[in-house]
């Protein structure tokens, strides 16, 4: 089973190259080949997930394993946390690609789109699997460079400007990350995440430690669009083609932003109280400001983009609370709840935010506008889009019985148990504000009657789009099963375990 790990990167790479080569010769090759290769990835992820049972696997690239207990090659690491991320990436990726089959047909150079899509998946899988800092950086660049190109895929004014802004801020973030990697190598003489932890535990100077942490926090915070670093997100996510928005908002900011932050700050650095507080504060600020700005948006996709910032705030806040509780060390159940809630909400958010962006794409596909004021009364004309978006909206604003309700509930219970009463109140208030702006979205898009007169011309979107929306909506309902203790134990527990016992990661790799 270990030999399957590098295939997560190799298969999408090979399919990208083959698509570029063969789509000129064989008509429609890309449309058949790309979904199948992503489906294969999805099956592999599910297969590994069912067989992993609470252990972690490592894979030494090139056969260069440990030499005198030092990792000299590149290690790929697959544990409970990364397999969850792999699952999310490949599920959302497959569904978004299936959706693209009809959505992208109005653009030119379709085959390049599919090739870039495979590259973005390959990059994210590489980031999630990598156990080596520099390798992580390289695959991060693969995924973000293909996302720069995909954001500007329509080559209109807005797309190009958004992509330029995204590239400049992304480039800045990459520079900060590379500088941090250089500083880490300077001190520890190693690049392996587990090995860095082992060396760092032998003592370090405090200013150095803080400087590196600040660089990494800023760099990956820019990729994750936590609030003061969010400036690029609303533009990039709203001007990209809708399946790409679903990928960016649903998966990319988590895989290259939150996932790496959590991995580094839980499993590479020792916890420090300052960083834990910074995490919590940044998360809270993102949560509040993101939702307040979303409230006044009239562009559907900008509204969704700001809501992404707000929901990312929930996740970061949950992990920050978990960190603080772990440092205090007297309230372990609450810490488990907080971290588990964070992971749960991360999974849920990628599903419902992906679905919402696909809904917005369906609206744009038929109406050619993203302005809420020009929509209205679409619930009859587009029943599937309307009903699935209603489910997603209820889910994101935390109404039972959808998945969003349970994950938010777990986070709030954790906050109460951990005596963060203000944060608990804020989380509830923001949840209500979220409900308010999604009610606005529902009302103006699907129920309000006034502006659109030629309603009878508008039909439901084609089959690939409706089926992928329905699939995600079912997933929204199904994921609420994770709230059941037994399912929770099986799915989320390995991931929580990796983060709770922060030494576990380095011990399993380097005994």
């Amino acid at each position: 089973m270990e030999a399957m790990i590098p295939l997560f990167v190799a298969i999408p790479l090979i399919s990208a190259f083959l698509i570029v080569l063969l789509s000129k010769l064989i008509n429609g090759f890309h449309k058949i080949f790309a979904p199948f290769s992503l489906l294969a990835l999805l099956f592999m992820a599910v297969y590994i997930f069912t067989n992993l049972d609470n252990t972690s696997m490592t894979y030494a690239m090139g056969g260069w394993g440990l030499l005198n207990d030092l990792p000299i090659g590149i290690f790929l690491v697959l544990d409970g946390f990364s397999i969850l991320m792999l699952g999310i990436i490949n599920i959302i990726g497959f569904i978004a690609l299936f959706y693209s089959l009809s959505y992208i047909s109005k653009y030119t150079a379709e085959s390049n789109y599919y090739a870039l899509f495979c590259l973005i998946i390959a990059g994210m899988n590489g980031v999630v699997l990598s156990g080596d800092l520099f390798n992580l950086f390289v695959f991060l660049e693969v995924s973000v460079i293909s996302s720069y190109a995909l954001v500007a895929f329509g080559v209109g004014k807005t797309e190009l400007e958004a992509s330029f802004k995204y590239q400049v801020l992304g480039g800045l973030a990459s520079m900060l990350i590379l500088l941090a990697i250089g500083l880490i190598y300077w001190k520890t003489k190693t690049l392996n995440i587990a090995d860095v932890r082992n060396v760092m535990s032998g003592g370090f100077s405090r200013p150095y430690y803080i400087f590196v942490q600040v660089l990494l926090l800023t760099g990956f915070g820019l990729k994750a669009a936590i609030i003061p670093f969010h400036a690029w997100l609303p533009d990039a996510h709203s001007s990209a083609p809708s399946p790409i928005s679903a990928m960016l908002s649903g998966v990319l900011i988590k895989a290259v932003g939150i996932y790496v932050l959590i991995r580094l700050f839980f499993n590479m650095f020792e916890f420090t109280h300052e960083i834990a507080v910074v995490f919590t504060v940044l998360g809270t600020i993102s949560m509040v400001i993101g939702s307040l700005v979303a409230l006044v948006q009239w562009d559907v996709k900008r509204l969704l983009a700001y809501s992404s910032i707000s929901q990312m705030g929930y996740i970061v806040m949950a992990f920050g609370m978990g960190m603080i509780l772990l440092i205090k060390g007297d309230n372990e159940p609450a810490a488990i709840l907080a971290i588990g809630g964070g992971i749960y909400h991360m999974i849920n958010h990628s599903v419902f935010k992906g679905l919402l962006f696909l809904n917005a794409g369906a609206l744009e596909y038929r109406l050619d506008t993203r302005d809420l004021k020009q929509m209205g009364g679409l619930s009859k004309a587009m029943p599937v889009t309307s009903s699935t978006s209603l489910m997603a909206s209820m889910s994101i604003s935390g109404l039972p019985p959808f998945n969003g309700f349970f994950s938010k509930l777990i986070i709030i219970i954790a906050a109460v148990n951990g005596k963060f009463y203000i944060l608990a109140v804020l989380a509830i208030v923001i949840s209500i504000i979220t409900l308010a702006y999604f009610l606005k979205f529902q009302h103006y898009a699907f129920y309000n009657r006034t502006p659109l007169k030629s309603l009878d011309k508008i039909r439901e979107v084609p089959f690939p789009m409706t089926s992928s929306m329905i699939l995600l909506a079912i997933l929204c309902l199904a994921l609420s099963l994770l709230a059941l203790p037994s399912v929770n134990e099986a799915v989320l527990h390995p991931a929580i375990q990796v983060l709770m016992q922060s030494d576990l990661y380095s011990i399993t790799l380097i005994p």
Binding site: K157, Q167, V168, M175
Partner: protein, 112 residues
């Protein structure tokens, strides 16, 4: 340590450029300058006094060589830099065709 500090000054010059310049080309130049400074720091880290360039002469033994790993990292980073610069230039030239200027303040379609 003066070389490291000067390299970091170069980094700050690049950062200053990214923040204050309003010209698309100048922003690209600033990012390249930041890149250069990081390459410099990485190569400086790997340097060893009296070390030889990492090309082994099979005949002689017992020599000190400089650390090859940072050099491999910088090689990778140089190629990444080429990739990002060319992507940025492609977008810059397209934006110029649309707006007839490189001024970033003229790009008005984006808010906040």
């Amino acid at each position: 340590m003066s070389v490291y500090i000067l390299s970091f000054v170069l980094f700050l010059v690049g950062l200053y450029g990214v923040i204050t310049r309003r010209n698309l080309i100048k922003i690209v130049i600033s990012l390249s300058i930041m890149e250069f400074s990081i390459f410099m720091i990485l190569v400086l880290v790997g340097y060893i006094d009296n070390g030889l360039a990492p090309i082994v002469d099979p005949a002689s033994g017992g020599q000190i060589y400089v650390d090859p790993l940072p050099q491999a990292m910088v090689l990778t980073a140089i190629v990444i830099g080429l990739a990002t610069t060319s992507m940025l230039m492609a977008i810059a030239i397209r934006l110029y065709r649309k707006y007839k200027t490189f001024d970033i303040r003229e790009l008005k379609n984006l808010r906040g």
